[in-house]
Assembly symmetry: D2
Homo-oligomer: 179 residues x 4
Amino acid sequence: MTWTDVERQLGWLSQEELDTARGRLPILYVEAVPVRVDAAGAVTAVGLLLRASDDGAIQRELVSGRVLYHEKVRDALMRHLEKDLGPMALPRIPASPVPFTVAEYFPTPGATAFHDPRQHAVALAFIVPVAGDCAPQQDALDLAWLSPEEAAHARIQAEMFGGHGVLLRQALAHLGHPI
Amino acid sequence: MTWTDVERQLGWLSQEELDTARGRLPILYVEAVPVRVDAAGAVTAVGLLLRASDDGAIQRELVSGRVLYHEKVRDALMRHLEKDLGPMALPRIPASPVPFTVAEYFPTPGATAFHDPRQHAVALAFIVPVAGDCAPQQDALDLAWLSPEEAAHARIQAEMFGGHGVLLRQALAHLGHPI
Amino acid sequence: MTWTDVERQLGWLSQEELDTARGRLPILYVEAVPVRVDAAGAVTAVGLLLRASDDGAIQRELVSGRVLYHEKVRDALMRHLEKDLGPMALPRIPASPVPFTVAEYFPTPGATAFHDPRQHAVALAFIVPVAGDCAPQQDALDLAWLSPEEAAHARIQAEMFGGHGVLLRQALAHLGHPI
Amino acid sequence: MTWTDVERQLGWLSQEELDTARGRLPILYVEAVPVRVDAAGAVTAVGLLLRASDDGAIQRELVSGRVLYHEKVRDALMRHLEKDLGPMALPRIPASPVPFTVAEYFPTPGATAFHDPRQHAVALAFIVPVAGDCAPQQDALDLAWLSPEEAAHARIQAEMFGGHGVLLRQALAHLGHPI
């Protein structure tokens, strides 16, 4: 049985159906800010994915992806972290379902701080400590670990798009870091 | 221009399209626990809607509804509070987008504490102080204000369905009330 | 019965006792970021107190003060808001006891982002919408309302001390604002 | 140099000084609800300490203790978890300083849901996953791991005092569990 068969059985969407839904409904996303923590839980580093954009520029990204039909939020988080950081990352998914923020991505630029030209997406955003070895997967070129101070720097923000820079700073603020 | 025309222009869904989407995608909801507060912000009462169920039984409900395409979460909250409590309720929508909990309603009973036979819905839940006069609208028979102690009572839980009783208790817990 | 008698009866501290305690125990504080909100709860302005520092410079501050013995956190918030913003400010103290952050002020500079040369203070910080007329009291020269964008500006941060600038930006982040 | 010398140098309190302070100032506490989590972060068990009370009865408790002068909240959490669960418990202290609730213990019964006859204590409460081996220390007789369903049971609540039962249920609610 192929992956597509599985999706069909579970009632998941074809690309065409997804494109239609994207113009009609807010699409639910999860986003994760991967962090390294010390023994007392203090954040020592923040992980950012490096990707090549369609026009060849390099940009930094957080872990992000759609929640599927009949998938729990924590399972979606797990799946996207594994997809982007590899199977040995050992993410510690938060025990509580409460996100540190909710980011509303609108297709119209400027409606909120978050922008996604493809769709109206609403993302539950979580800070996720990862304890294992991360190996960027798929189309990510690298995963860079930055100190919280570096991550808060305007230079890093300038390499992030669609509001991921804002989301990163909101995560640092929630962690108690100066931003 | 009729309401349906507006919906069509905005790319909202026909009933048929909505039914299809409900079997394919998690649908984003907002839920509100209406409360009365005293001058120091302490909750003095919790508002529960009284509705007749399809089989004629009386059940208690929280304010709940779908987030539309291109609608902000706070605007969806405002719209559903006005729809259920009337135009003079003066709800004080929270300034922060962070919900007190995220409730995951699955069509399969028992998958989580929340159940919705129609769909997989993910609800951002907020506690909303209301300062004005509430007049139950549409199909609600009444709005009953209970003390936090009454609201936590097992008798009230037994009159709530699909997990609304759980959500109510989670709200009381978040407010610091014994449950 | 004078105020001092009341304090003595309630077991509150003399200045000398307070000075001693400040070198021996973390002192519990509350801090409030006063905001104006629109009908849908979105923040339209942030209130900052203007004070003259001991050396005559002008600095901006948030509302801040100690929690007294046998005083509830919400009553301490109410008292300090009334003290700084006047009796007609109509603050809407949050219904939940959960602060948006906990700021740890150490007498040693650099131990955390927060510094208080007098003491080790731990502050529960809340965002508080105020609906009435604010009139700065006591030693405050003025209360200035800034848009969230202005409040996030580096120029404003430079006029805030001891970490209040960090706390302000953490509040804006919690509100979902870009910072 | 003895422990007492260290305390004196650091400005910590003698028993007599502490007794005095307890009648004059709110005392800052941290409390922890130890939990076991599965690979997706879902809570599978809650840890409760078993202690003999002064009159010989058995009671269940959460991890709890004072924050010392010049001690960070996360270091206080670490110290008390190690003190109660042993050095091999491997607690995962939360990365964010935001507690899931703030419990206000008053010496006057009934002022809040929390009661401590010795003092006015304000506790920052955190849920802490522990990954290692727990061995109850000091005066604790045992550490019992209960399923979330068992932990929410009225029978367990009846064995907890001073509001620890309320705090436990608030933790379960924050975790998204029915209570």
